[in-house]
Amino acid sequence: MSLSQIETDAAGVDATAVPVAPQPGMVGRSPGRLAWARLRANRTAMVSGWIMVFFIVLGLAAPLIELVYGISPFEQFQDKIANNSLPLGYFGGVSGEHWFGLEPQLGRDIFIRLVYGLRTSLFIATSAALLTTALGIVLGIVSGYLGGWIDGVISWVIDFALALPFLIFALAIMPTVTARFYGPRDEIPVPFRIGVMIFLFALFGWTGTARLVRGQVISLREREFVEAARASGAGLFHILFRQLLPNLWAPILVSFSLAVPGYITGEAALSFLGIGVVDPTPDFGVMINKSLSYAQTDPAYLIFPGVVIFLLVLAFNLFGDGLRDALDPKSSR
């Protein structure tokens, strides 16, 4: 082949115009699909993901399970409780009928109470995570993109909220909020308690997401594709939600998936301290609090709820880690 031949070839075929992969499948592999493929390849993430799904299904299907299992979470089996208030039989009364045994004294079935506790816990944690993420996204985007004094104020509030001890504030807020709406001798309804808890998590939790989103937005807003949109006459809404938001989903998803186990832990802690959900409602924190007084005589009562909540949080944490690695391959270590 002569030199001139190459020249004419080069002139005829414009190298930049040749597609990278000239096969006919014309739908591109989006960054999201690539991340999904990476997630699928991560065995730990997939296993923990399935465990997570299992727990979620269990929580959602609690009434169905009750139907099949045949025991309600409030039913008391006093005939299976000995005089010293401990359940009869081995390891806290584990049997074919009561898979995880019975509670001392009241004799309620631990398995079905855990299934319902799962429901409570997941409901509160997911709602709180959704709320905090939404708040964090909006405030983070506004703060990061607009900058100026708005950013100054929001950033200060974020730093301020991070300096507050959550649990101690929660301890303090819970009774004062309750005292605002209910008299000292009123019965406080469960939905109200749950609502205040979610509100508390939202009040303190949005800062993390907001900080993250703000940082991302600050790095994105200098990109030229944002300028391209502005140069075409795009308004603030278009830039924030059509141009920036699609680039924020990855970190938001990761922070959401790691927020859920955080709130599961937080909810259980508040209930453990007696300021969250209270007794007749099935809940991990309440159960463990009560079980501590039986730690010496009936360790099974502590071990079952303790192990379940550990597995639940572990599955969410591992899945969240896997998700982060899949969405941001550079961060994996």
Binding site: P165, A172, P175, V177, A179, I275, L302, G306, F310, V313
Partner: protein, 328 residues
Amino acid sequence: MLRFLIKRLLLGALTMFAVSLVAFGMFFMLPRDAVATMCVKNCNPERLERVRVELGLKDPLVDQYTGYMKGIFVGRDLGSAQGGFCDAPCLGYSYTSSEEVSDIFARVLPVTLSIVIPAAVLWLGLGIGLGMVSALRRGTVFDRLAIGFSLTGASMQLYFVGGMLMIIFVYTLKILPVPHYTSLWDDPLDWASGLVLAWVALAFLFSAVYARLSRAQMLETLAEDFVRTARAKGLTKSRAYGRHALRAAITPIVTIAGLDIGGALGGTVITETTFGIQGLGRTAVEAVRLGDLPTIMATVLISAVFIVVANIVVDLLYAVIDPRVRLG
């Protein structure tokens, strides 16, 4: 450096002021009727009204706030109904025990400090040490065990770990007494044996975060050119890593440690409740149950002071480790 310190102190004071406003607003404005809430017996309207006047709840809110703040710095007279003059730092009288709140805190603070300080030393040492060593031995069995440990710790619940420790060491092996508090000055051995489970439980959970973080930081730092250069110019492995890498890797860890103090305070609340030790946290939980507003308010303020002071210390440490910060 001095300018940095002054700036930091001013910012801390501003934060404290904001916290005091928030806390005050929350406690003295929010409840529909604080007096009715805490009144246990003989609550006829007439008596309630008298108590309200005595407690100053009828005064304008600004006066209530300035009165409260004045009490902290110079003390104030709260009237005979509440126990007379209350010396600075006056945090008021407990609604339930009529004891000066500052006296209650003088009693329980050493307990909480006895839990937190040794536990913090333990978890920082354990966490950072584990993370560093596993980064240097990346991929070995030790590394895998360390990763497993930190994953487990990060997903564990404090009360569950505490309960299990009690079941194992106190009730089954019977090698430790039931957790309790003795003053360090009275009997150091009893002090340690009574609190060791609390330290271990806290350290197990909190060190997980540090192990993970310092491992990642260390790996990142080890890959940096300046560490490779240090090795290439003939520094021994321990010198290169110890002097160059460690310094760079520790900086972000210090930041996290600063942010973690709030978590640690929350941790002591759970720890004290789990082990039944009467410290700051358990006092606060009880005050909440009994509606003892002055005690709750004081708990919030004292925790905030802790956090603000600790953050200033962390920032100063940071400035010492990383000279760039001083300019900021």
